[in-house]
């Protein structure tokens, strides 16, 4: 017999019929179904195949612990290759298929692998497949994996992140969690209640109960209403997946079907002053031979399918248990019309067995299932004594479509354990229990080992009171009450049937059986972590929720230890798998790393600039004309600057104002160059080192006044330089009276550069920029086209240059006016790439291109300040270490290829050929065709470079196997005397 939908009952809406497909077959379910309950209701038995042996597997559980029903799911344009059917809310139009089977789970052509199982024990791959692993690996990879991700359309779903604070976070909305929330809310605290199910109530959703004289569900509904009224934030369908430092928790909220633009999955980071963990427990299967056949299911799952979804898992049922809890399911299923046989391993029938017998249930004490029979699902069940050592010991064969198993419960201690809470093994209940709540948390309900509703309600209320008391509040309301039930009889731990060699399954998804654990123990993989890694027990997508405890109990037995000596593996986030998109939230594209735009961005785009990213800024690379390639545009722009005048947007260049009576002294301690003797109105090119001596940044410093400087760090280093100034000031020189302001964003800066720059600019400004009035490396304040600003005579092109700065808001207008005014002079806007050519012709370094994380000032030929400067400065001592004064350091040089038309590739290495191969002498850092020289040039860092310049040496440059020769020369190719600069 297969599962079927009953005529009435369940928390489903029979008026709302939802069509869906399973392997293309048209089926339907109801609103309120999960995909799993709908499949069961339609009589689907085989939903998956074991990872390794491809044995048929059916739905085993009803919630997050499900190992088997991992399906390929398509819905509304979305595709989930690994959907867990037991937690997916059924929606109209869903198309589901099994995974890891060909052509489908019913006819899987790989099922024959199971015949070879005796040769494929745990870890068999460590013992074979070598030395030619590469031949086997592709086949094994193809066999492994669950669903198949399809390429093509990207996942366009929205994801969001939210942050929240709460006085009390309550994890779990079952009876314990609701009781805790009620108490905490009554104390006037801000409470956030999260539960991973779509409805609050927990076990009340399927267990009969009476609370405060109402039915359990009526009480839960009323309580939730009251909580909402009291301002408690309710997060149903939300998994608290991780506990982190200082009371922070990660939550994944699923918001279901949604209009476009709505984030379905939302990640919450909640900081709570106190947390109540009422996370319940997960039923543990009873293990016996062939316990993996479709139809074998957790007893609690069968009860949930009956009560929540009105699905009867079979008309003939065997219940295999070692504890009282499964009797609840047995009685309910009997009541629903099923024929039920209970095999209870406990030799003496428990008290509850009498009620079962009265209800017409057959109870077999001291018994266990020894075998299940049936091709694609359980048909017959052999039952025999619990101490049987052979399947032949079976005393009874009963027909059954389902075997409901219960081996006890495993408290969901995950979040407690993630919070560094300790666990202890409790022999009486056969559970790992929390020793004590960690500071800032209270524990309640089944996760503490409470097995009765009365206990859950009482402990929940106590936890709410404890939370309130930890936050100095009192609780006035009484705890909810429920009639006391007779005490249950104790569990009898039972880990597997003592039949040697039988296939008794522990981890159903990863196909790990009892004998695999015994093999691991035999081979001395006897730490629980070794067991996990060697057998893959608990490593599947259900994270071992139904297999870990059984596995380690068997390991304990196999190694002659007690369970607490074996211990558990460490619990880590996430409790259940978390959508990657939700973890990233909105952090993608421009929100992952925002671009910075120049004030005149629109003007550049309008002019056809090719915009690229440089150090976080979106800047013009070049202004390509219709008839040009970018490379041609770069050459044209560079030549135009040398011959006429060019305009460059340098607004991204950093501007840090340094103010204060001690500004000069402070900057002298920080910078490599002397800045105290810089006169107001003048500029100086400087280096900033790190304390290890390495050049961190270069730039031009302006002395604005006796107590004010303005620094111009590199565009990409401005934030870093500011942070460095602050750090040194606050931590090393806190008594110095100096302050720093980053004003980069406040200014637009345009460089007017070229022999005709002065002619073009002087009519536009009130500042006297005549050669003697504003010589190279000076600046003056005044107006430019009526706008108050500054002109600095500083050049990165080697031509006469004026950097014009005005408030950023005027930037676009000034750019347009300069272009207009420059029309008669043939003004040419030039981008970063042309600038890079121009500065390379002058041998000006580009930080991060010509320098790297090992470059010292002397490597750049800038040893002067070290000798001249009398005061200490950051990095000074590091310039005196043995390595810093090594004679064979790489030094900054120019390179002239012997073939003037060959441009070396930046990144080519200068090599020395030796008997044992090549050796690198350094590398090309920049290279281009120089329009000024009409030939190729390059810059590089070459070992003993300066002596090579003096001796007129040559080097061999190597790039991807090709070589060329180049002469080592001074890096200043253009205008070495600086006449154009100063003129």
């Amino acid at each position: 017999m297969t599962a079927r939908r009953l005529a009435e009952g369940g928390r489903i809406d029979r008026a709302s019929v939802l069509p869906f497909t399973w392997h293309g077959a048209k089926l339907s379910g109801f609103a309120g179904d999960t995909l799993a309950s709908a499949l069961l209701a339609n009589g689907v038995k085989v939903v998956g195949r074991g990872f390794k042996y491809h044995r048929a597997r059916g739905i085993f559980a009803a919630w997050v612990e499900e190992p088997n029903a991992i399906l390929d799911l398509q819905w509304n344009g979305h595709h989930d290759p690994n959907a867990r059917a037991t937690t997916v809310a059924l929606r109209a139009g869903m198309a589901a298929r099994g995974v890891n089977a060909r052509p489908d789970v019913d006819r899987d052509i790989y099922r024959g692998i199971d015949l070879l199982q005796r040769f494929l024990p745990a870890g068999f791959y460590y013992k074979t497949f070598f030395p030619n692993w590469h031949r086997y690996e592709p086949r094994i990879r193809e066999m492994a994996g669950l669903g198949r991700l399809r390429g093509g359309a990207p996942d366009t779903r929205q994801y969001e992140a939210r942050h929240a604070h709460a006085d009390v976070l309550i994890v779990g909305g079952g009876p314990a969690g609701l009781a805790a929330a009620r108490a905490a809310a009554s104390a006037g605290l801000s409470v956030l209640l999260a539960d991973d199910r779509r409805e609050f109530g927990g076990s009340l959703l399927w267990q009969d109960a009476t609370i405060d004289d109402q039915s359990g569900m009526a009480w839960a509904a009323a309580t939730v209403r009251d909580l909402a009224g009291a301002g408690v934030r309710l997060l149903p369908d939300t998994t608290v997946f991780g506990a982190y430092d200082d009371g922070s928790f990660g939550l994944l909220e699923r918001r279901g079907a949604a209009p476009a633009g709505w984030a379905e999955d939302r990640l919450w980071t909640v900081r709570a002053r106190h947390a109540v963990l009422a996370t319940g427990s997960i039923e543990r299967p009873l293990v016996f031979p062939h316990n993996d056949r479709p139809g074998v299911m957790l007893a609690s799952a069968a009860l949930q399918y009956l009560r929540q979804y009105s699905v009867l898992v079979a008309d003939e049922i065997v219940v295999a248990t070692n504890n009282d809890s499964a009797y609840t399911a047995a009685l309910a299923l009997r009541d629903a019309g099923a024929t039920v046989t209970v095999a209870d391993v406990r030799p003496a029938p428990p008290a509850i067995a009498h009620a079962a017998i009265d209800a017409g249930i057959r109870v077999l004490p001291g018994s266990v299932v020894l075998h299940t029979i049936g091709r694609d699902g359980v048909r017959l069940v052999d039952i025999g004594p619990a101490d049987a050592t052979s399947a032949r010991a079976a005393t009874l064969r009963v027909p059954a479509g389902a075997v409901l198993v219960s081996g006890g419960h495993a408290p969901a201690v995950h979040l407690h354990s993630q919070s560094r809470g300790k666990l202890r093994w409790d022999d009486a209940s056969a559970m790992f229990l929390p020793v004590a709540a960690v500071t800032g948390q209270s524990l309640a309900g089944a996760m503490t080992g409470e097995q009765t509703l009365a206990g859950a309600l009482a402990s929940g209320h106590r936890a709410g009171v404890a939370a309130a008391s930890a936050l100095d509040r009192g609780v006035a309301i009484p705890a909810p009450t429920t009639p006391r039930l007779p005490a249950s009889d104790p569990i009898q731990p039972y880990w597997c049937v003592p039949i040697k060699g039988a296939r008794q399954w522990l981890d159903l998804q990863n196909d790990v059986a009892v004998k695999d654990v015994r093999l691991a123990a035999r081979e001395n993989y006897s730490s629980v972590e070794h067991l996990k890694r060697y057998t893959t027990l608990g490593m599947a997508t259900d994270q071992g929720k139904t297999s870990n405890v059984n596995g380690l109990a068997i390991l304990a037995d196999a190694t002659g230890r007690r369970i607490p000596e074996v211990g558990t593996t460490t619990f880590r986030p996430p409790y259940t798998p978390v959508t990657l998109g939700a973890l990233a939230g909105m952090r993608h594209g421009a929100l992952y790393a925002p671009w910075r735009h120049l004030p005149a961005h629109a003007e550049h785009v309008e002019r056809g600039a090719e915009m690229r990213e440089y150090g976080g800024w979106w800047r013009p690379a070049c202004y390509t004309r219709a008839s040009e390639t970018p490379a041609q545009a770069i050459q044209r722009e560079a030549a135009a600057v040398r011959q006429g005048v060019g305009l460059f947007d340098g607004s991204s260049l950093g501007k840090i104002v340094v103010d204060g009576p001690d500004a000069a002294a402070f900057l002298n301690l920080l910078y490599y160059n002397d800045l105290a003797n810089l006169k107001p109105g003048r500029l100086r090119y400087v280096l900033l080192l790190r304390e290890n001596g390495v050049v961190y940044d270069d730039g031009v410093v302006a002395r604005v006044g006796p107590e004010r400087y303005q620094l111009s760090p590199s565009s990409s280093h401005t934030a870093g330089v500011l942070a460095m100034l602050e750090a040194w000031h606050q931590t090393e020189y806190p008594t110095m009276r100096v302050a720093f302001h980053d004003v980069t964003g406040a200014w637009a800066t345009f460089a007017v550069s070229g022999p005709r720059a002065r002619d073009m600019l002087s009519p536009l400004t009130g500042i006297d920029i005549a050669a003697d009035a504003l010589p190279h490396m000076t600046f003056a304040d005044g107006t430019i086209l009526g706008i108050a600003g500054r002109i600095a005579r500083v050049s990165f092109t080697g031509e006469r240059s004026y950097e014009v700065s005005v408030p950023a808001g005027y930037g676009p207008a000034l750019w347009r006016r300069l272009m207009q005014a420059g029309g008669d002079f043939g003004i040419t806007p030039y981008g970063i790439e042309a600038l890079s050519v121009l500065r390379a012709e002058k041998g000006y370094i580009l930080i991060g291109t010509d320098t790297d994380g090992m470059t010292l000032p002397d490597d750049l030929g800038m040893a002067g300040p070290l000798r001249a400067k009398k005061v200490d400065f950051v990095g000074r001592r590091s310039l005196l270490t043995p390595d810093a004064v090594r004679p064979d350091r790489r030094q900054f040089v120019g390179l002239l290829p012997l073939d003037p038309n060959a441009v070396p590739h930046p990144g080519a290495h200068a090599i020395e050929r030796r008997a044992d191969g090549m050796r690198s002498l350094g590398w090309v850092t920049s290279a281009c065709h120089s329009p000024a020289l009409g030939r190729s040039i390059a810059l590089g860092m070459i070992a003993r470079g300066r002596s090579l310049i003096e001796s007129g040496g040559e080097v061999e440059l190597f790039h991807l196997g090709q070589t060329m020769r180049a002469r080592v020369v001074s890096p200043v190719f253009h205008d070495p005397a600086g006449e154009k600069l100063h003129g």
Partner: protein, 87 residues
């Protein structure tokens, strides 16, 4: 996610802060510092497991540096104070 008590701003989330290393005394004058002493200052660290004195910057907030004692095993923040002063 740590909750860090900035001595100026009060408790704030970890992503607002940057870790600045162990406080180290800068040996001066540089000419008289041996290579070994300089290396000790620059590179060698206590790197304690357990309570650990560190300097931090509230870089995404007030921008101020401060001294914090933190347990590197449990991540518990034990104290935070302004440099050279009390909490």
């Amino acid at each position: 996610m740590l909750l860090i008590p900035c001595p100026w701003c009060g408790p704030r989330d970890e992503p607002e802060f940057s870790f600045g290393g162990e406080p180290v005394a800068r040996p001066v004058p540089a000419e008289r510092v041996s290579d070994a002493e300089w290396a000790d200052y620059l590179y060698f660290r206590d790197n304690d497991k357990g309570p650990h004195t560190e300097i931090w910057c509230h870089s995404g907030g007030c921008g101020q540096w401060f001294v914090m004692e933190r347990d590197t095993l449990t991540h518990a923040v034990l104290s935070a104070r302004k440099p050279g002063g009390a909490a």
